[in-house]
């Protein structure tokens, strides 16, 4: 090889090597985001860091704007809260706590949440239930040393209520003075006579538990945000530098990669976080999240599928699966009304297939719900009778007997309704075949599994059910516009019962009444229950409500699902609660990795 050629080759090699280095440097150049803090190295960093795998990134770390589950979890650690709340599993009621007061005394063994994190010392509800007055503690400080004062709450509620900011929590302001006329009158609705007194005034009597729930929105520091105009609020750079007062503060946020929180040494709400660092890592792929839990690269993975439990626990004994629930159920929706007619003329007419309650009951009895549970969810699924969860013990009607899987009875019911087998074995009535498409959303293995069993069950009694899987956005849009005759979907319920949006007879107002089910008694029961100042006083109404739904079967309720979370055993002190996986995360501790044998 001549000298020139050798030089050329070596120059080329140098070029490629420098190109590769330059590329690496390019991708590494944004590594120092956020504040500098505790520097920890290599594997040892895991000893002081709890790693939580997330499906997606937080949208905002601002309580007024944050609307994803991840945002909610992180905001709960950074910002202070007026009250502490806890779900009492023995009654199914929410409890609210200030430093020196509780809404209700809890059953022994319950009530593990420490009220020291609350900003409120106590509250007083007026006799007419139209005013709630909080007394705030005077020793709470934002991370910059400024005191947390009642003015911060008034300022924050104005942000929550601003139509320009469009916070997803506007509904919480629905009872404040002025809201009945379309605009909250903040000067009259929220009063701050001094820094430690905060008064909320309502235009109507409000039950105490609801008043506590709606007035305990997370505050922002007014002194930090006061100069930000509402139309700049959503894209203000301050959103990337959250100023809180809770047990943790933001250390760094590399968008779509990870959020690192560091224990806030100065916090007394309730105390600095026990674990020095918490990293929320974005890992979009489910299989990879599982692999990372298995190798110990992450400590917590949510929503593990039941079919993976055995393999996971066998592969690594340092993993445990914890369950909590029941808040989520799947159902088959049947359009009760003729949607085409309703769209054309606005008239409500029974659906030609699913308009009759007897037909819907037959469909429920034709579906083998136990088989779906046994085949997929196993012990993590429970038959669902109505949309009031068995976890809400105070309201759940335990006398309801699930409709059994009984194809013979289903056939008899359909025959009584005039549906008789045609020459091809498919049921017919007045020349119309019992044939329809069951839609569901793409990307949900559980629903795919259930839909195939439903199709087989219905085919065995002479019903032709075709399956169609739609992209989630398209599916939701079709549901919202009431375009579908039958679908398989699910709901996650709130811990306060308020089902009028889903079952209300006014189809324009009840946006989520996709079936078009109408029953004036259901409307009346929901209204009567709302008027009770103590939730347990409405128990009789909710029992009747469930009996009606069980009888009318506006939809076929399939199963409740327990939420299943994978934890590394190096975490100690975690308590799962229906109100959230990370409800006592500030009390979790980590065992050092040396003790962890993989």
């Amino acid at each position: 090889m001549s000298d020139i050629r050798r030089k050329r080759v070596s120059a080329m090699c140098r070029l490629v090597a420098s190109l590769m280095l330059a590329l690496l440097a390019l991708s590494s150049c944004n590594r120092h985001h956020g504040s500098q803090g505790l520097a920890v190295k290599g594997r040892g960093a895991m000893d002081s860091t709890l790693v939580i795998a997330m499906l997606g990134d937080a949208d905002y770390l601002n309580p007024v704007l944050g609307s994803t589950v991840t945002s909610g979890n992180i905001i709960g650690l950074i910002y202070p809260s007026l009250l502490q709340s806890e779900f009492d599993t023995t009654t199914g009621l929410m409890n609210y706590m200030a430093l020196e007061k509780k809404l209700r005394e809890v059953t022994p063994g319950q009530g593990k949440k420490d009220p020291k994190g609350a900003l409120a010392k106590s509250w007083k509800m007026s006799d007419d239930q139209r005013t709630i007055t909080y007394i705030l503690r005077s020793d709470a400080f934002w991370n910059d040393g400024k005191r947390v004062v009642s003015g911060d709450f008034k300022f924050s509620y104005q942000l929550y209520g601003s139509p320009v900011i469009a916070s997803a929590r506007q509904q919480y302001l629905a009872e404040l003075i002025g809201a009945d006329r379309g605009k909250v009158d903040f000067d009259r609705a929220i009063l701050t006579p001094d820094d430690t007194t905060l008064v909320f005034r309502f235009y109507k009597p409000v039950p105490e538990h609801l008043a506590l729930y709606h007035t305990s929105l997370t505050p922002l520091p007014a002194h930090q945000w006061k100069n930000v105009k509402p139309d700049e609020f959503r894209h203000s750079p301050l959103n990337l530098q959250p100023l809180g007062a809770g047990p943790y503060k933001l250390k760094s946020w590399q968008q779509q990669q990870e959020i690192v929180l560091a224990s806030s040494r100065s916090s007394n709400l309730p105390k600095p976080g026990t674990i020095p660092l918490i990293t929320f890592r974005v890992v979009p792929d489910y299989t990879v999240r599982l692999a990372q839990l298995q190798t110990g690269a992450v400590d917590v993975v949510e929503s593990i599928k039941p079919e993976d439990f055995t393999r996971l626990l066998k592969a690594n004994r340092q993993i445990e699966i914890k369950t909590v629930g029941l808040r989520v159920y799947d159902y088959v929706g049947w359009s009760n009304i003729d949607q085409n007619e309703y769209h054309k003329s606005g008239k409500v007419r029974s659906h030609p297939l699913f308009g009759s309650a007897r037909v819907r009951l037959a469909l429920t009895q034709a579906i083998d719900r136990e088989a779906i549970i046994d085949g997929y969810l196993k012990e993590y699924g429970v038959i669902c009778n109505t949309d009031i969860s068995p976890s809400l013990k105070w309201a759940c009607n335990e006398r309801l007997v699930p409709h059994p899987f009984d194809p013979a009875r289903a056939t008899a019911l359909l025959r009584a309704e005039g549906w008789l087998p045609g020459p091809d074995g498919i049921l017919q009535k007045q020349g119309r075949k019992f044939s329809f498409v069951l839609y569901t959303n793409a990307g949900n293995a559980r629903r795919n599994y259930a839909s195939v069993i439903i199709q087989q069950n219905l085919r065995s009694i002479g019903i032709d059910c075709k399956l169609d899987v739609q992209e989630p956005n398209v599916f939701f849009e079709s549901l919202r516009q009431r375009k579908l005759d039958a679908w398989l979907a699910g709901w996650s319920i709130g811990l306060e019962i308020d089902p009028l949006d889903v079952w209300g007879s006014d189809l324009d107002k009840s946006r989520f009444n996709f079936t078009g089910y109408q029953n004036p008694r259901i409307d009346a029961l929901c209204e009567l229950a709302k008027q009770k100042m103590e939730p347990t006083g409405a128990r009789a109404y909710w029992l009747e409500y469930q009996e009606i739904l069980h009888r009318d079967q506006p939809i076929t309720f399939l199963y409740w699902m327990k939420e299943t979370q994978g934890f590394s055993r190096r975490i100690e002190g975690e308590e799962l609660n229906i109100s959230g996986t990370f409800y006592n995360i500030d009390d979790w501790r980590l065992r050092p990795s040396a003790n962890v044998a993989l």
Binding site: L19, Q170, Q255, V282, V283, P284, V288, V474, G494, V502
Partner: protein, 321 residues
């Protein structure tokens, strides 16, 4: 040549503009609503309306188009709906370095391995080595990338935990020194780069093999051998240069890949690159971000083709532009 390049660039302007207009209407007409996330029980129905008003989605589509056009002509592609209202080019600027790193390193590996294997296969045509390489590379070529990636993770991150399963750096890497940091990043890139390189190199090897076989049968190669030139010189100097011409087209068409990202790999290995930005934008109906990604991808396809044509002219004196 300069005039030719200028001409092509001028033609590209209406072409890209047409692509953007088409994208604008397709995204607006597709079912789905950017404010759909805010339509759920417990959220006031006003919120979705307020969000739509903020995004300017309550206007008729032609009015939205005129407004969009006015903004784009001033270089303003808008703010992302789904990513905290960041300007769309800021979102792209955050994702690009990661994508460029992965794709750049992949391309270097792709072409190096692909060309080498292609040459060996062609020179040793029909030998055991040729057949072995052909079958092996076809096996990897026909394997779906996402499946291959998952198998690599199961094998090398789970069964034999040599490499990390995902992420760009180790927990606590911000405390590392620069060298440690780069090494840690390289360690994280081993699995994804292997998946992408093996898959891509297989295709290139097939091209190079075919092209080499054609070239080494030419008269001038026979002449070179007849002159008594060593085989190395014949292959690398006379044959390879000519055989690489079709590969230049591949280089040009790889340019969009460098910037648009490898979606499956980015999702599986949790890299926040361009592929994920684009697909997340599509699923969340983030119109401004979809259009900006299309703009980047469209421009690169045009530039990539132009780049390939110019390289052709540079490499082959018979081609005049």
């Amino acid at each position: 040549m300069l005039i030719y390049i200028l001409k092509r660039l001028l033609i590209a302007v209406p072409l890209i503009f047409g692509v953007l207009t088409l994208t604008f209407f397709i995204t607006r007409l597709a079912p789905g609503d950017p404010a759909a996330f805010f339509i759920q029980p417990g959220i006031s129905p006003n919120v979705a309306e307020q969000i739509r008003a903020q995004y300017g989605l309550n206007d008729p589509v032609p009015v939205q188009y005129v407004k969009w056009l006015a903004n784009v002509l001033q270089g303003d592609f808008g703010r992302s709906f789904s990513r905290a209202q960041q300007p769309v080019f800021d979102v792209i600027a955050q994702a690009l370095p990661i994508t460029v790193t992965i794709a750049g390193l992949t391309l270097v590996a792709n072409f190096t391995i692909g060309i080498l294997v292609g040459i060996i296969s062609a020179v040793r045509q029909n030998s055991f080595l040729d057949r072995f390489l052909t079958v092996t590379f076809l096996f990897f070529y026909s394997m779906p990338e996402f499946w291959f990636a998952l198998m690599m993770i199961i094998l090398f991150a789970l069964k034999f935990p040599f490499f990390p399963a995902s992420g760009l750096n180790e927990i606590g890497a911000e405390g590392f020194g620069p060298v440690e940091f780069v090494l840690d990043r390289l360690w994280h890139l081993v699995l994804p780069l292997t998946v992408l390189s093996i898959n891509g190199a297989a295709g290139i090897a097939r091209y190079v093999r075919g092209s080499m076989l054609e070239v080494i049968r030419q008269d001038y190669i026979r002449t070179a051998r007849a002159k008594g030139l060593p085989e190395k010189v014949v292959i690398f100097k006379h044959a390879l240069r000519n055989a690489l011409l079709p590969v230049i087209t591949l280089m040009g068409s790889s340019l969009p890949f460098i910037f648009s990202g490898a979606l499956f790999i980015e999702v599986i290995f949790a890299f926040p690159g361009m592929g994920r930005v684009t697909v997340d934008a599509i699923f969340s109906r983030d119109y401004p971000l979809i259009i900006a990604s299309t703009f980047v991808a469209g421009s690169l396809v045009v530039l990539g083709n132009l780049f390939a044509d110019v390289l052709y002219a540079v490499a082959d004196p018979r081609i005049k532009l």
